[in-house]
Structures are given as C-alpha cells and as structure tokens.
Subunit: 393 residues, 2 copies
C-alpha cells in the first residue's frame, strides 16, 4: 500500500514501560490540508488543546503521538510538554510548529516524562525513511489487543489515490468522540471545505456511532491529512469524484470504528443496534445509545439471554418519544416483540439462537415517525471488569 | 414496632417459582392520605399505569405487590391483570377499587399468571390478622440479598407516631426513580398537601440520589400512606412538628436508599459522591451522577485503584460547567488533586488506603459557584456481571 508523500516512524521511548514502541511520527513531505474532531469533554488533555490551536489554519504536516500517558489533568506542566514536543518535532523536520499535531493516550493525571520524549525525537525523525503505517498502528495501542487499520482506493481524473487510516481504542469509548485516536491520511488532493465537511459527516456515522462503556475520553482525536501528492485534480463537493471520495472515507472510518468495538475491552459480542420509526433521527440515536449503553442489556448479551424486556426498558428511559404499544423488536430476522408485547415462546428459542452468534443485529421499531439511527456496541463481560479494575498495575 | 391501624400479609403464589412468599398485602384499617412517585420512563408497567390512576384522588387503603413478574411490556392483557387484581383485593376488603395500589417487580415482558394471583387473594386477605411489615419486606425481594426496613418515631401534640418503610431493589437502580419499590407507612395524621410535598422532597435526596447501574426501571414506585390512627393533631407545614416529621421521613428514606446501594448487585463498596462549587445544584448533580455511573470509575473502585483521572474525565463529559484548572478531589480527607492536577505521590499511597475501606467518600470541588449535590453509588464487579448475565435462568 502506497500513500504518496507520507513517511512513518516509531521508537521505544519507554514512556510508561520499556519493551515496546510507544512514540510515533507521521510526516507528510508537503503541507497537507487537514481537519480534526476532538473530544467534547470539558476536561481536555493538553495535546488536545495544543492540537486544536494548531489545526485552526486548516493544515498539518506532521503528527507525533505517544501511548502510555494521556497528558491529561496535568495542568500547565502538561501544556508545556505538549508545546515543547510540537516545537522539537517542527525543529527537527524544518517545518512550522503549528504544522505539528500532538496526540497522547494512556493513563490520566500523571505528568509526562518529557526527557524521554526529548531524547527520542532525533531517532524518531531519523526513522522516517524506513517506517510503515503499521508501525504507527502498533505504537498507539494501549489495552487494544490488535492494531486497527483500513484502506480504500479511488480515482479522480484518471489518477489513483489511497485513503488509509489507523485507530486505537478499546475502553473509554463513547461519542462524541468515540475513538480515543484515529488518524486518516490520503494522497488525494481535496478541496479544504469539502474535506472538512465530508470528514465530519463520516465521523458522525462511524466513531460517533459506537460505544463500549459510555465513558468519553479527555483525549479523543480524529484527524485527517490530505497531501495531494497523488497529483489528481482537486476533488470537490457535488462531483462524482467527490461522492466517491466521501464513500471511500466512510468505508475507512466505519471499518476502523467497528474494529474498535470488536476490540472493546473484554468484548465477546459485536452488536449492531438499529432504531427506526422514531420521531426524528435525534430521537432514534437517543434510543439506540440508551440500548447500547445499558449495563443490563450488555450483560444479557454476554449471557446470551434473549431478555428483550431490558431493551424496551432502555428505550423507555432514553428520552426519545415512545408509545409503548407501538414498539417492535427483532434479533436479526427473528421478531421478539410487536405492539409492545412478546411475540411468543417460539421467538424466545429462536432469539436465543441469534444471541449465540458472535455478531448480530438488534432492530427496534418505534412506529412513530421516520427517524433512524444505527450504532455499534459490545457486551459487558467479566474480562471488562478485570481489565479496568487493574488497568494501571 | 407498632404502626397503628396497619395490617400485613404475605403468601406463596408461586408466580415465578415455588418455595417463597411472593405476593403481599398492606392494609390500612381506614383510608389513608397517600402520595406516590413513579418511574419517569416512557415504558411503564401496567401496575404503574393503574396505580397512578388510582392515587390521583390522594388516598389509598391497600397495596398489593408481587415479586417474580414485573407485568411490564405486557400490553392490554397486562392492564387487565393489574385492574382485575385491584378489583379483587377491593372486593375482598370491602373498599373502593381506586383505594388499592398495585405494584409488581421481576422479569419484564412475561404475561402475569393471573390465575395464581386470583386464587391466592383469599388467603392473602385472611392472613392480615397475623402478618408483619417484615413479611412484606421479604416478599418483595428479587435479587436483593437482604430485606430493607427502617423506622423512625416522633411526637405531635404529645401523641407518638411512627414512620416505617421498606424497600427492594438491587439492580436496575437509577433515578428518577431509583428504587424499584419502596413503601412508607405512618400512623401520623398529616395534612395532604404537606405530605405530598415533603415526600417528594425526601425522594429527591434519597431514592433519586442513588445509582447502581444507571438503568431506570419500568416499575419504580415509591408510595407513602399516612392513616392518622395515632390520633395526633394533624401535622402541617411550617410547624415544629412539620419540620420534625420531614426530618423523620428523610431519615427513613435515606436509610432505605443507602441500603439499596449497599445491596447493589455484586457491590463490594459503598461510595458517597459529593460535588460542591458547581454553578448550581443541577450542575452539581450532573457531575455527581456522571461519576457515580461511570463504568471506568466503578471498576477502579472495585480494583481499589486510586485512578483519580477517571473521576475528572467523568466530570468533564457530565455536561456540568467545568474549568479544569479549578478542579479538586478528595478521597475521604485525602487530597488527591487540586487546581486540576495531581496532589503528589504521597496522595497516591494514602488515597489507595482510603479505597481499601468498604465505605468511603469522594468529594469533587468545581470551584465555580455554590451548587452542591450528594449521590450514593457502588462499585462494578464480576458478581454484577454474573448476576445479570443469567438473571432469568
């Protein structure tokens, strides 16, 4: 896979512990059109604050990211670390400081060992000649059990381009933003406003449509860089090329988002929650998210228990407009309930079979309007408890 | 303990399974002034719909309650069951149907075996001569591991009265309403409007200030009956007797609410979350509830891990107005963070000691205004998963 004009590097900086690469760099040989979506939490990590300042101009050329320490709840010292990091990278690469994005993921509230970053940057920059995007996907993992990558290719004006992305995140997953970190790079030339809008839309139906545990992070960042090095005529909105690019981008983001849910901490099930017939799309998403975040629903998934009443209970408190006599529910194509009541004993047995699968869909009809939403979630398991009861040890 | 003019009975109706008393009756010898708070879910169980109709007149004389089946998501057949149940009880006791409150708790979505209720009501009414409030507390248990009771006594006009209450609920606990079921009875004579208002206020700071798993039930009901049989002069608002009654009521409700959290499914910790310095009380409660419902915070409690950053992360996404540089955090009297950053290594060790206790307080200061809130929560444990992954089996 070639994404023209991008270089990659990862080194072991031993930020939290030794033995793995935990500091990574993505570099574009030319300034790239860029857009980002950050956590909406009121408690933002220092790198989020610095990166959102830097991206205000709509471009970026480098991204430095570390795992092992979130640099969140670290006050002014944390801000100094994030600023110095971007400054050092800019100096080593000979680019503007504002062209550098800084991202961090890991434990919250611990000061970053700046010295280890400072001394690692020369080797990080030297490594750019030989690294791959896969190295970056590996380096940003925390409790992830596998690296998350996806790519899609297209053509514009007879010129081929690639859209590639990586992501990390397995816990503290909930919109908005859902992923802790995701970086998308493309060698396509894309009109800046169109890039920003189509990226935000794609984030809305991917990373903002997944939940593992309902906890939003202080560090969530989703970034795209389009450097135009494939040499295609600039892709614009409303054109066939624009539509194709948007579709490619959607594919990459949705694949990455689903990978995050499949790697949800302790997850044994991947569940697609579809809500239709809501008053509007907002209500549909409320209902879908209430189901997706319900501990009782998620433990029932884990137990492979067709306890459909818990799903209606979640819809009931979601805040969506509901007429309980109109509710319907399917597990895959098995009707579990219609008109608000149980579809019968046969449904119980058949619904239980659906829940034994590793992946299935839960479809709820509200019967009121035409609002729809789809979100993705995992089950809640013993392993989730084990991972999070001693994440730091 | 004597609560004058109240009688109690419980029988085995084998609604879900045999071997325990699962149908209970509370009867006041005279019509009682009554008030109730029901689930705010849009998916309401049939007994909630029927009871809220019946209590509109402000009085009640009997309460029939079953465990094992929630009679929720049961449609018209469920409504017929709830109506027939109240009708049969009224007939057997010779009172108005609207004087009967009906409550159910248990599995959702299964039709109630009406025949078992119908045939059990004569024995239930016959048993009133010999039952106790404790029998009722036992009969309403589902996944509860202990019955929940509290009583408090007072005087008005030189006449002693008692306020006694029972509750059940261990999962699906979240305001509003928090408890699945709680029944308060008093032999005091209380002015109806004052009773209603003081009861609602007490519910707000007790049952609506607890959370176990963030799931609100379809059946939540909190009911008070005041039958005046102690013979005291009617207690009114603004009087010393009124204030004393309100305090007694608060004590009983708060004790019951705390018992529910302590019996939270799989809980090993009881945690008081106090938020102060918020823009207003609403913001304070938002922040407190976000902490209390965070799976990551609750698993950290279980792991006895002083992972304070997760608490600030929860405050950050709570929706409360937050300036992260002003945040402070204490575990009991140990300062974990101030001005948004870690208070130091010593705090880590001392904070971990606090978390080893079975009960402790988490206090967050927002440093913005004078809004405060206190909520109560439990940890999230392996046992919670075990209980809920196979609750129905």
């Amino acid at each position: 896979m070639v994404i023209k004009g991008f270089q990659f590097s990862a080194v072991e900086a031993a930020i939290k512990k030794a033995g793995r690469k935990d500091l990574a760099l993505i570099y574009s040989e030319v300034p790239a059109t860029a857009a980002a979506v950050f956590t909406t939490s009121a408690v933002k990590a220092a790198p989020v604050l610095v990166s959102s300042e830097h991206i205000a101009g709509g471009f970026a050329q480098a991204l430095i990211v570390n795992s092992g320490n979130a640099n969140a709840c670290t006050g002014e010292p944390g801000m100094t670390v994030a600023r110095e990091t971007s400054h050092l990278v800019a100096g080593a690469l000979g680019i503007d400081t504002t062209a550098v994005q800084v991202c961090s993921t890991g434990v919250i509230g611990v000061q970053m060992p700046m010295e280890r970053i400072r001394t690692s940057i020369p080797a990080l920059v030297d490594g750019l000649t030989s690294g791959t995007l896969d190295d970056i996907a590996q380096a940003i993992m925390t409790t992830d059990t596998f690296p998350k990558m996806e790519a899609s290719g297209g053509q514009a004006g007879g010129v081929s381009y690639t859209v590639a992305g990586i992501a990390k995140g397995a816990g503290m997953i909930m919109p908005n933003m859902a992923t802790m970190l995701s970086f998308i790079i493309t060698d396509a030339a894309v009109e800046p406003t169109f890039l920003q809008q189509t990226f935000r839309r794609a984030v809305g139906t991917s990373f903002n449509a997944i939940t593992v545990d309902g906890d939003m992070s202080t560090n969530d960042t989703c970034l795209i860089m389009a450097n135009g090095m494939s040499g295609n005529p600039t892709i614009t909105e409303g054109s066939p090329e624009g539509n194709a690019f948007a579709a490619n981008l959607n594919d990459v983001l949705l694949s990455l988002a689903k990978q995050i849910v499949k790697d949800g901490e302790g997850a044994t099930k991947f569940v697609e929650i579809r809500v239709s017939g809501a008053k509007n799309d907002t209500d549909a998403k409320r209902a879908a998210m209430a189901i997706a975040n319900s501990s009782l629903v998620k433990t029932a998934f884990f137990g492979q228990d067709a306890n459909w009443g818990r799903i209606f209970a979640a819809v009931g408190y979601s805040g969506a407009e509901v007429d309980q006599s109109l509710l319907s529910l399917h597990f895959d194509d098995v009707c579990m309930a219609r008109n608000g009541i149980f579809a019968g004993e046969d449904a119980e047995a058949r619904g239980s079979e659906v829940l034994k699968q590793k992946e299935f869909a839960v479809s709820v009809g509200l019967g009121i309007g035409s609002g729809t939403a789809t979100v993705y979630t995992s089950d809640l398991t013993h392993e989730y408890i084990s991972i999070n009861a001693d994440y730091r040890s």
